[in-house]
Amino acid sequence: MTFRIFIKSLWLAIRSGKRFFLFVVIYAILLWLTADRLDSLLNGGDPVLLFVFIGSVAALALVYGILISNYRKVQVATLRCLGWTSADIKWLFIGELMLVCCVAAFIDLEIVVHYIGIVANFTQKIPAIFSSTAFLISFAIIIGVQFLGVFVAWNRMLKVRPMEALRKA
């Protein structure tokens, strides 16, 4: 049943339209920059920028959490009236945030593959981009940081009594 809610949350996220695609693009850029800086750090570079990017991802997760909680206020209040537990509600947020991160990572991988293909075609050399290790670690960091957004969204939602939320809407 949790799996069913998770799958439905992915649909809901995609159907939310502009907000979803905007955040996918921002996450894709941040994931790229984080992977690039992490790769540089793994090769003895400066860690400062890496922390800046991770901080940006955390800030973005917070903003996204607040946005989702505002956008889904009536939805969540209704579902709570209909008998969804707070744990069920949490899966709605987890689904959306995970999907945004995964689609962003997929877009980055697509760009990397095409970029390498094009450059290699013209120069006969494989261009230097961040390593797959740096990319995977960055992806894991970004996924981990999303739980901050999930927690914020979830906490904001459950503070308000469902009928109160519906009346204010």
């Binding site: 439905k8 939805q75 209704t78 009236c81 209909l82």
Partner: protein, 237 residues
Amino acid sequence: MSEEYVLIAEDTTKEYRRGSEIIIAIKNIDLKIKKGEFFVIIGPSGSGKSTLLNILSGLDTPTTGRIILDGLDTGMIDETMFPKIRRERVGFVFQNFNLIQELSAIDNVEAPLWPTALSSKIIEERALTLLRMVDLIERKDHKPKEMSGGEQQRVAIARALINNPKVVFADEPTGNLDSHTGEEIVKLLRKLNKEQGTTMIVVTHDENLIKFADHVVRIKDGKISELAKGGGGKTPQ
């Protein structure tokens, strides 16, 4: 005999604190609602009828007194158990329909059962049966935005019934509809009440709904001012 009552409110009072002031929303309410009744709670805006509905349905807790919902004393139930009880015993119909805009009619009807262990196939079958019952089967894949207010409220009624509830609480179900559509919605609620035996508790300020009710309670300034028999739904038949 408590078995014949699906809902009992005993000496129920609800107070709110607003700054240093204490607001008494409802005071010393005693109510007994029989199984299968079409019960209307009527009163002007601010009379406390919605507070009463929230308390009767377990969405809010009384300051004093007790509520017995389908044999369960809600004051004795752990807070974490309430969602399960709502899911198994209660349905809701709202004034603003509150359908999820991104979902189709059938998905909206199914939504209350998604967190349950029932298979997706069974949930879908139930949703289709209910959509057929509210005469919206041909619009099952339509989104709320593509439907009229009356159709959206019919979807909301189907959603309220998907868990085979003992009681359906309707908070101003005709409030956002024109009078003709509003009357059709109440007729539908009454029909389902008779056919399925589901107890319907309707909160409204619309005097026209009295003719559909088995019993009517009038709320004024947080107190019951009158408890009377309604029209029993004879007029619309």
